[in-house]
Symmetry: C2
Subunit: 302 residues, 2 copies
Amino acid sequence: MASQPIDVHIREVGPRDGLQNEPPIATDQKIELINALSRTGHQRVEAVSFVHPKAIPQMADADEVWSKVDRNPDVLYSALIPNLRGLQRAIDAGFKEVNVVLSASDTHNRANLNRPTEDSVAELDALVELAHANDVFIELVIATSFGCPFEGDTDPKRVAGIVERAEAAGIDRIAFGDTTGMGTPKRVKDLLEAVDTNLPRLMHFHNTRGTALANIMVALDYGVDQFDASVGGLGGCPYAPGASGNVATEEVVHMLHDMGYNTGIDLDKLLEVAEMAEEMVGHELPSGVYKAGPRTRLVERS
Amino acid sequence: MASQPIDVHIREVGPRDGLQNEPPIATDQKIELINALSRTGHQRVEAVSFVHPKAIPQMADADEVWSKVDRNPDVLYSALIPNLRGLQRAIDAGFKEVNVVLSASDTHNRANLNRPTEDSVAELDALVELAHANDVFIELVIATSFGCPFEGDTDPKRVAGIVERAEAAGIDRIAFGDTTGMGTPKRVKDLLEAVDTNLPRLMHFHNTRGTALANIMVALDYGVDQFDASVGGLGGCPYAPGASGNVATEEVVHMLHDMGYNTGIDLDKLLEVAEMAEEMVGHELPSGVYKAGPRTRLVERS
C-alpha cells in the first residue's frame, strides 16, 4: 500500500506582507493579485492589514481592496491587525479570521507598534473577547521570534512566556514570525523545544539569509504543518535593500510536493501568478523556482 | 562541559565552477580572487579546470592562473579534469589533488564530455593509476546525481553502481554533483540511502530552487561533512539565465557556524571577497548573507 501524502497548509501572504514591503501598487492590481491567488488551489490568503495608513501607506486601501475581491468560498481570507481598533475594522469588513501581531523584542514592538511588548500582551484578553464574540478566529503572530534586528537573538523562553499568556487568553493559533530572516535551523529547534503549547503552530519564515527551506524542514520534524509564504518571494527586507524577505511560495510548494506532502496548490498556476506579481512591482522577484522552473521541467539538448 | 564544535570541510569552488558560468574575466582578476580566498581561512580551493578551451573558454588560461597564484601552504588547491589528458596537464602543473568529472546521466555526459557515461567510467582505472603514480589524490565528481536537465530524475541505483566501480578502481573520494539544482531533501535522502561506500563523501549543491541549505541539513544527518560552495554564489545556472547556481559559501558558513560547526573560515573576510567577486563579474551576486549581512549584524533604530 502506498503511503498517503500528508497535508501541509500554506497561507499566502504576498498581498499583505509582500506588498507591504514593495513600492505601492494600484488598488485594482491588488484585487487582481488576490483574485488570481484564489484560483491556484490556495486555501488561505492573507488579503490585507488594518493598520494606520501613516504607518503603512501600502495598506491604506484595505477596505476598498477587500470589498472588491471576488471571494472564493474555498479560500479562507485573513487580515493582519495591530490592536483592538484594527480588529474592529476587520470585523466591520466581514473577516472571519485575523492575525494580531506583536513582537517578542521590546525594541521592535516599540518601533512597530509604538508601545512595549507587555502592553500588546495585556491587550490579548480584550482582543480574544471581541474576536470570539463575533465568531472570528484569532491568531497571534509573535514577530522577531528568532531574533530582532535591533536587539539580536531572542530568548526562546521569552517567546514561550508570551505563548503561555496567549493560550491563557484564548488565542486560537500561534504564528512564529521570522521578521527579518534571522531564523536558522538551530534557532527553530531551540524555539520549538522551549515552547510548550497545545495551540496549532504556524511558521512565518523569511529567506533573507537562505535558510527558509532548511528551517521548514526542522519545523516539519517538530510536527508543524502550517507555513506562511509569499508568491514569487514578493516583499523585500526593510533593513537590507535588495535582500529577500518572505520565502517564495513556489519554493515551499516545490520542495513539499517533491517530499510527498499535499498542499492543494497547483504549482503551474502559482508560477503564472508569480509572473503577474513581478510585472506589478516592476522588478525581478527572488523566487528560484519561478526563475528556473520546477525541477521536472526538462531542457531540450541543443 | 561544553560540547565541542564538529569540523565541516568546505571547498571553495568560486574560481572554477563559479567563473566557468560567468562572462570571462581577466587572468589577473582570477589570480586575485584565488589569493583573496586563500586568506579567509578556507582550507580547500578548487582553483582551475583543465578542460578543452573550446569547450570552456573561461578556463583557457588555467596554466597561467595557477603558475601565478600565491600559494598558501595551509590551503589544498585542486583542479577539475574531464579525462586522462586533463589529468596529465594537472600533474604537469603540479596539482596534488584533482576532481575528475562524469555524469550519471548519459545524455548529460555526452553533452558535457562527448561520450557515454560508460566510457568515462571505463577510464577510471587508468586515471587512478596515473594519479596515484604521481601522489595525486583523485576524487570522482558524479554530475547530475540528483537529476538531469535533459533526462529528469536520476535513479539513485545508477549512481550507486558508479560509486561501486569508482571504489573498485581506487578513487579516493566521491562528490555528488547537483549540477542544475535538481537536488531536494528527498533526493538527497534517497541517494545517501542507496549509496553504500566506505569512501569519503562530498556534496556539491546548487541553490537554483532554494533547497541547498535544506539539502545540506539532510546530508549532515547522514554523516556527510564535506561540501562545495561558491563565494557570493558566483556562477549561474547554464540552463536558466538569471537563476542561481552554486550555493553561496557565506550562506553555508553562516548557517553552520550558527549550528556550532567549525569551518575554519572567517565570515567577515569571506564577505569582503564576495564584494570583490561581485565587482569582478559586474552584476549582483545572489548570496543572501552577503546582501543582508550575517544575522548578528544589528541595525540602529532610526
